[in-house]
């Protein structure tokens, strides 16, 4: 074996290195040129693109939320305003690490400022914000809570009390179903609103005037440009220079003036205290809603403060349904309150004359039928004329009227008074009720047997029962139209708008409806007289006008919750409270020149006159005799005294 020994060839090796070195040099040059080309691409070709990106990076537009418009009653009493609310806020980076944060939150629980159950939620909220952001963990603190915190403040770094404007309703639950409320913007709200308009705003109007006039109340947010660093933290200067930053102040929302009179509203709610019911009072001269109450209600301040799921569930599952606006959404059989309208219809279509009498034996049956339709007064009213029939609310008289009119004419006439259709009030959620007709029945039922309109059904509709449904708002609107003798206005809550920063109120034009034509003053007079008699001693609602310095016209109504068998007698004491009849009442006053029309509805209130009369009277007094009405008291504010 010959081992080939390679000897070093110094000259050759130097040559190898030199050649490789030169090749390497060429590669180096090419590589650096590649980088240079890339830089040329970034800095020359795409300069504009990156320049814009860089500008967008450093300036953040920070919204300045507008101040929400106020809501005032017709006399300028503030019903909704904005109050500084004191809230506990945490800046995470000032508290320290997660362990210190947890310890601080536990201490807040220990001194009673937080609920241990809420801690996981609160922690999640804190962690979802940036470390330097101030995160609210307890809204609208009471004086006592502030005092407790002040006492323990030394234990907490990075946690402090801050002020911000929040919606405040000075009267608490008063008129909540008219005003509505504001609450945190939900995912569903976000689909409807322009997010730019709501930047920086956390609350949005949900129902009532707050919801319907959201666009007027909200205002226009302003903005300021804020120089920020990459962490989003506002900084004052970048490197060595201070750039010019733009700022636009916000425009506050418009103030709204309602037709509501706080005294009438208070009277209505006091009257309904402890009851489930609704009161709607309308000024018949212009359709202004003077009172709109639905009980039980709730405190809208709670919503602005932020309800926990538990609190909201409690409201929603309450058997008394405080969240339901009965004035607009409660559709009930109107009962005998419809009788004045049918009397008018009878005169209008000429099926009855005012003085023509009908004999009431206490029951009625259709010709050729043995089915008995009872009068509420089982022993009967005897021979009775139209005025007396209204005064005494004689069912048999109106069975006759209904039978003579026929359902189609009843439907047409009542529809003109607004039954069965939306009144078009300026807040949402209204129900249309139901004014039945054969055509309606054909559409409403699928099976042929139910599509037929039976003559007996006409009779029942004639006393406001059966299929017929009306909301308290429709009752009030109809009686307002009645009181003005056919001149109708669309009901409205908001009567004027005040632009921000102005003292001049812009009144909204009234919205006049077609109303009722073709009825003579004499015919109106008959109905007025009947209703006024009902409010006098011997009438169905005599209690309403005791000692009244003005003339009142009224009509009671009772709506059956469930129907009685043929020979059964209604016995309130034997029937569970929830199964009792609903009590209704409509009234207007003064009779000679009406200024207010009222509808009262009391769920399971049994008899409209007994329970509704005093309520309606309080509302009338409060509006017609303002000096006697009790001055409104605001609910004590939650939060510290200024």
């Amino acid at each position: 074996m010959v081992r080939r020994v390679r000897i070093k060839d110094h000259w050759g090796e130097r040559r190898i290195f030199t050649i490789r070195g030169i090749v390497a040099g060429v590669i180096v040059a090419m590589s650096l040129l590649t980088v240079a080309a890339r830089l040329f691409y970034l800095q020359v070709v795409r300069y504009n693109y990156y320049s814009e990106l860089s500008q967008g990076n450093r300036v953040r537009i920070e919204p300045i939320p507008p101040s929400r418009g106020l809501i005032l009653d017709r006399n300028g009493v503030v019903l909704a305003d904005n109050m500084p609310a004191y809230q506990l806020e945490v800046v995470r980076e000032q508290v320290g690490d997660t362990a210190q944060l947890n310890a601080s939150l536990k201490r807040l629980v220990a001194i009673g400022l937080l609920d241990a159950d809420d801690l996981p939620d609160i922690k999640r909220t804190i962690m979802s914000h940036r470390v330097y952001e101030s995160v609210p963990i307890k809204l609208q603190m009471t004086d006592q809570e502030m005092a407790v915190f002040a006492l323990h403040r030394f234990q907490f770094s990075g946690i402090d009390i801050h002020t911000r404007l929040s919606r405040h309703y000075p009267f608490g639950p008063l008129a909540v179903h008219a005003l509505g409320y504001v609450a945190a913007i939900s995912a569903r709200d976000l689909k409807k609103i322009d997010p730019a308009t709501y930047a920086g705003t956390t609350l949005i109007g949900k129902l009532g005037v707050e919801g319907a006039y959201e666009s007027q109340l909200h205002g226009t947010p302003g903005y300021r440009e804020v120089l920020v660093n990459a962490a989003g933290r506002p900084v004052h200067k970048e490197g060595a220079y201070r750039p010019k930053l733009k700022m636009r102040p916000p425009v506050a929302g418009k103030d709204l003036v309602l037709g509501i009179d706080i005294r009438a509203q208070l009277a209505a709610e006091n009257g309904l205290a402890g009851l489930r019911g609704a009161v709607v009072a309308i000024d018949p001269r212009d359709g202004d809603v003077v009172a709109l109450a639905s009980t039980p209600g709730f405190d809208p301040n709670e919503f602005a403060r932020g309800l926990t799921d538990k609190q909201y569930a409690a409201l929603e599952n309450d058997p008394d349904k405080p969240l339901i606006n009965r004035a607009l959404r409660g559709a009930y059989p109107p009962g005998s309150t419809v009788k004045p309208y049918y009397a008018l219809a009878a005169l209008h279509y000429g099926v009855m004359t005012p003085d023509e009498t009908i004999f009431c034996p206490g029951y009625y049956h259709l010709p050729g039928s043995s089915h008995l339709y009872h009068c509420w007064r089982h022993r009967g009213h005897g021979s009775i004329s139209m005025r007396r029939a209204i005064e005494q609310s004689c069912d048999v008289y109106f069975y006759n009227v209904a039978n003579k009119l026929g359902i189609q004419r009843m439907h047409d006439f009542m529809s003109a008074f607004g039954f069965g259709r939306l009144t078009g009030i300026d807040i949402s959620g209204e129900k249309s009720g139901l004014m039945p007709s054969p055509a309606w029945k054909r559409h409403a039922y699928k099976d042929a047997a139910n599509q037929v309109w039976f003559p007996g059904e006409t009779l029942i509709v004639g006393i406001g029962q059966g299929y017929m449904l009306a909301t308290p708002l429709q009752l009030a609107h109809a009686v307002a139209t009645l009181s003005e003798r056919g001149i109708a206005f669309k009901p409205r809550l908001v009567i004027g708008i005040r632009p921000p920063g102005s003292t001049r109120l812009v009144r909204l034009p009234v919205d006049k409806e077609p109303g009722i034509a073709g009825i003579t003053p004499d015919q109106w007079e008959v109905v007025d007289e009947g209703m006024e008699a009902a409010a006098q001693p011997g009438g169905t609602v005599a209690n309403i006008s005791v000692g009244a310095p003005y003339r009142i016209a009224a009509k009671t109504g009772t709506a059956q919750v469930f129907s009685l068998h043929q020979n059964q007698k209604y016995n309130a004491s034997q029937i569970a409270e929830r199964m009792r009849d609903h009590g209704l009442l409509i009234a207007f006053a003064p009779v000679d020149h009406p200024k207010l029309a009222v509808a009262v509805f009391v769920e399971n209130g049994e008899h409209g006159g007994t329970i509704g009369g005093p309520i309606a009277r309080k509302v009338l007094d409060a509006y017609l005799l303002p000096d006697k009405a009790a001055p409104p008291r605001t609910k004590p504010m939650t939060g510290p005294a200024p």
Binding site: I16, A24, V28, L39, N57
Partner: protein
């Protein structure tokens, strides 16, 4: 000598005095001059990028002082012979220190790259950037070029040991640089073209295997490099913000200390790995081209000096130092401008951070020593 007598101007005299000093310190004039220029620019950029942090600049100046001292000492007092004898020792010490770091790192969980000697903290992996090419050059010094297959296997082993140890730290960037410095020696030693071509499929296979081995964040970096938009706020953030900084600088830049990307913290790692983007934002294309030209000059000059090396060790070591420097420049500028994935490699001589500065200047000290201490053999 003619020059001395003819020049009467003070400037000329100062220059001559300067070149005499350089010669006495065994430094190469053009290389030292340009290196000084780069370092000086670096100080200015660090001041801006750090948000006018004077303490950081002071610390940076301290690092420069140590680095320059290392360069001068190595250039002046080391000789090719000493360096060649020292190479295996440096390698062994380096490997031992890496073991120490890896073990303590394993105990103290997480990345552990630093060795704290009380008075000074440094990364042993930095030693390997010089020790690996020197050991390879030492190995090839006695052997005829080009290397045989056995030589290649040996050198591959020299490279693989520290590379693997640095990968597990984990520090992919430094590991790649160590491997590159060794591979450069193999290439300069005359590695046959056929083997280079043959190794390409092998490297691809290794890359495929390595993909399954590397850490999640490293994998993410590569994925993000391919599509930065996929992770705008995570790993892609570095790349996007860096390109915005460079692109918005335009031709002339936004002005010194006026780069909004850098001054408002949008640019991550802006005084270390991404400082090249600060130069791009504040000094524009012209500033970056100037820096690249200076680097190009340094690499060219260093290669030239290496070519003049007297023996295999000198040439291979010198060439490896020159081309490693190029790799730093290319990997960093490529990463910052978005043509290479994000690897933690600083911009040499400019980025804030001591260890790499010292290593690089020490490398140039060695390079200059190898050149200036060569024996003049009559040719």
């Amino acid at each position: 000598m003619m020059l001395d007598e003819l020049s009467q101007s003070r400037a000329r005299r100062t220059l001559t005095a300067g070149s005499r000093t350089l010669r006495a310190l065994r430094l190469d004039g053009p290389l030292t001059g340009v290196l000084s220029l780069i370092v000086a620019i670096g100080v200015l950029v660090v001041y801006s990028a750090s948000g006018q942090n004077v303490r950081m600049v002071e610390h940076h100046l301290g690092n420069i002082a140590i680095a320059v001292a290392a360069m001068i000492l190595l250039a002046r007092f080391s000789t090719p012979q000493y360096l060649r004898l020292f190479a295996p020792l440096a390698y062994v010490i380096g490997v031992l220190l890496l073991i120490v770091v890896d073990v303590t790192g394993h105990i103290g969980k997480g990345a552990q790259r630093w060795l704290d000697l009380g008075f000074v903290r440094f990364q042993p992996s930095e030693i390997m950037k010089l020790a690996v090419p020197m050991l390879c050059a030492w190995y090839m010094h006695e052997r005829p070029l080009p290397p045989t297959f056995k030589d290649l296997v040996m050198m591959a082993l020299f490279i693989a040991i520290p590379t693997a140890m640095v990968i597990v730290q984990p520090d992919l960037g430094t590991a790649l640089l160590i491997a590159a410095s060794g591979l450069i020696v193999m290439l300069l030693a005359g590695l046959r073209l056929s083997i280079i071509l043959l190794s390409i499929p092998l490297l691809l296979a290794a890359a495929w295997g390595g993909w399954h081995y590397i850490h999640g964040y490293q994998r993410q970096r590569i994925l993000t490099f391919i599509n930065p938009e996929s992770d705008r706020l995570g790993a892609g953030y570095h790349i996007i913000q860096s390109q915005i900084a460079i692109g918005s600088g335009g031709v002339f830049g936004k002005g010194y200390m006026h780069g909004s990307q850098a001054q408002l913290d949008f640019l991550p790692e802006r005084s270390t790995d991404f400082i090249f983007a600060v130069i791009g934002e504040e000094f524009g294309l012209l500033g970056q081209l100037l820096i690249l030209s200076l680097y190009g000059f340094v690499i060219g000059r260093a290669l030239y000096l290496a070519m003049q090396g007297q023996d295999t060790f000198s040439r291979l070591t010198g060439g490896a130092i020159a081309l490693s420097f190029f790799v730093y420049v290319f990997v960093n500028s490529g990463m910052v401008s978005g043509i290479l994935p994000v690897v933690g490699v600083p911009l040499p001589l400019i980025s804030y951070g001591g260890t790499s500065m010292v290593t690089i200047m020490a490398g140039f000290g060695i390079l200059m020593s190898l050149h200036s201490h060569r024996k003049l053999v009559g040719s």
